[in-house]
Amino acid sequence: MSHFFAAISLILAGGLLSLVFARHHLFSRAGATLLISAGCAWGLGAAVTTLMGSVTHSVSFQYLNLFFLAFEMDALSAFFLAVIFLVCLMAAVYSFHYTQDAAAPVKTAVTAFFFSILVVSMALVLTAANIITFMLSWEIMSLSSFFLVIHDYRKKENRYAGYLYFVFSHVGAMFIFAGFGIFYKYTGSFGFTDVHILTQGAKILAFVLFFIGFGSKAGVFPFHVWLPHAHPAAPSHISAVMSGVMIKTGIYGILRIYSLLELPAPAFGYLVVAAGVVSGILGVVYALGQTDIKRLLAYSSVENIGIILIGMGLGMVGVASRNPVMAVLGFSGALFHVLNHALFKSLLFMGAGMVVHQTGTRSMDALGGLLKSMKITGFAFIIGSLAICGLPPFNGFAGEFVVYLGGFQGIALDKIPFAVSVAAIIGLAVIGGLALACFTRVLGIVFQGEPRTEAARNRTESGTTMLWAMGGLGGACVIIGVFPGWFFNLSLSAVSALNLGYARIPQAPFAQITGHITLGAFVIVLLVLGMAGVRSWFYRAKPISRSGTWGCGFTRPTSRMQYTGASYAFEMVRFFRPAAPIEEQHPPVAGRFPASTRYESRVHDIAERCMAPGVIRPVQFLFDRLRWIQHGDIHLYIGYILLAIVLLLFFI
């Protein structure tokens, strides 16, 4: 544990240093980057050591007999810590050149400061071992990320995003508080150790409350509304951290609560799989409908949270139906996808960050042809896209493969578990296909073809540390995709900390699975290399010329004729129109020689659409009726307090 605290002190020191020396732009940036990345590397080392040794460290501090902070790092915490420290390390490296714009040194320093707080608070959330510590770290995490979201507060949409995020994270926190309230009522202590003594009804209620609370942080449909607003508003390395790892603290929360409750109720599994399938499919459908590249990536996080939930839900169904193989496959697949998604999503956000940084626009339909001038970014983005589509030989496939195997275990079961497994498998298949459509679209519109506007013409990539970070993450995606064995064992040890009641999880059968993935990866890599060899043999000493694209007889093509992102996705989104209504606006074409016209389309998020009439207006109505309570007279407020205390005396 001492290593862990040393690491987070180093990270905090980095943030403080950047704030203190804010006026010395280069020194402040370099110091922050060095200290934060060193701290992350140290923490990563500590977490991986704990994970491999499978030991539990704990430590506690007491202040005035009422403020009791306790920390514990078991394999589950260590797994999430490793993911967080790894991605934050890369984000810190990336930030050095990303924030080199000297126009606003203080703002940069403030961002670095809140970034360090965010990293530390996430680490503390994962190690918190009692209610007070957990909620304290949770709130610090929400607040520090709130300040990062409103980093560019001069833009109205960013302030709106910050506001939405603030409301959602606090309503979510209220649900978590309510859940902890149930814990406290039964155990009478702030600790987590006696939670299993709750009655069954209380456990189910608590789980649902926690699922809503943590689900709103993780971005589970329909509590994801804040996510596509807030994540793109932050600077890109922060978006990478928020989308890649911060939402995973919600997943950690659900898993931790599940393991504390020790109640293998099948209903939990059904709930989680259902939420996963809905989030997964709708997340990627909305992603297809986006025109803003960072918003698209944020929606795709909703999709990947769906995949993780499907895995977890299958695990829970497996536990409930006494099928240990299914349980372990489901949970370990989900955890493995946590790691994989963290890597490729932060890679994609960093790639998008480079594009936005160099072209100054987030609108995909204004871009195009960037692969020619941004080779490293482009190919890193291709690797990230292949990984996120779950294609072999990249890491996304390894995780989804394990989840699939878990799902097929459930096919042998009967009745509801069977139906749930069918839904999970078909859901995963549809998500995979839609993700492929979604990311070929991003790639095709942003990086390939010809530049659509001047913004995308002749933009080169710059910033060495940004390229390093992307290269590192891309390399990790390939290495895990080809050799998943060692990394998968890490998620297996995290599963063993879940308290599922399986004494020891044997590694041999799982080593066989990862061995098969490696075999498949080798087959495809060898065949591709072989075909490339055949191709170059046929091309030796052949005439090769360059010319314009075949325009099917049309001789004056312009780059504006290219297929747009909206038209690429139109048919697919229309297939899901009850959940993703498309709004189109265009004046009718009039006359024989119509003048220039316009066309606008927008894909609506049904949760966001229903939020105003379904939630906001009733709540507003209710609070309007209660307005008389608040009238600004301080005497009456004191009276309220007195009344509350007197009332409480009766009850306690």
Partner: protein
Amino acid sequence: MFESIVLWLAAVLTAPFFSAVILKVKAFFGGKKGPPLLINYYTLIKLFKKGSVYSVSTTAVFKMGPVISCATALAALLFLPMAGQMPVISFNGDVILVLYLLGLGRFFTIAAAMDTASPFEGMGAAREAFFPIICEAAMFMILIFFYRLTGELSFAAYFSGTGTLGLWQIAGPSLLFIVIAFFIILVTETSRVPVDDPATHLELTMIHEVMVLDHSGPDFALIELGSFCKLFFYAAILSGLILPFETGIPGAGLLVFIAGLVIVYLVVGIIESTIARYRMDKVPQFVLTSFALAFFATIITLELIQ
């Protein structure tokens, strides 16, 4: 193992021949003599001899497209049991790997099409991205059906030895549904009528053909070889399903397998000659039929094998 590799090589080498069967059938229905059965080999040789013209809009991805789409089709055949023999590679879960490998090929075909900046190719790419999503769902539904029957997740368990015969014995009626569902998937994935028309001449109405408009020379030959192999892959599965006989006489299995293949290609040719393609917006409904059939087959099986 040795036999499997020989079969794999034979499959790759004869795939162009079988595709020519479709052309012959279409010519027969048109009252024409039609091209020779070796036409596809002549085309491949002609293409391999040529050079290439590349669009100035394209990047390295454009050149990776044909290589990867061909390699994934060849890789898929490695996992496929042919003529009742064991495949070259087989393990628990190889079906999932194969489906995702074909997805990898599709990713690069689409990426190569988007690389050209051509609006037609973008249109084809959007369709190529859309229809296989439903196919994939149907494929997984079929896998669920097979898993429910056999408890295994590999092609070898379904199509090698007496595996398929066993399936017919347990769940014959519902397997008929699966055969039809699978045929719809074949038609969609390999861009045949009534989903796509490989012989059409209007770019606006094409799916697969329009995506490869800008490829030429050996690149185009690789694409053609890849699509022959992909068609062979699906046809081989169907052949195993419709003629699951295990005679025990050496060589007879191979003959039965070839007979099955010829039947599948004939049926594809007959359908192509007798019905017109569907309107583009009706295609999703057609493809969804395969999912519905596989779903009903699974539901029926639930009752059959309690």
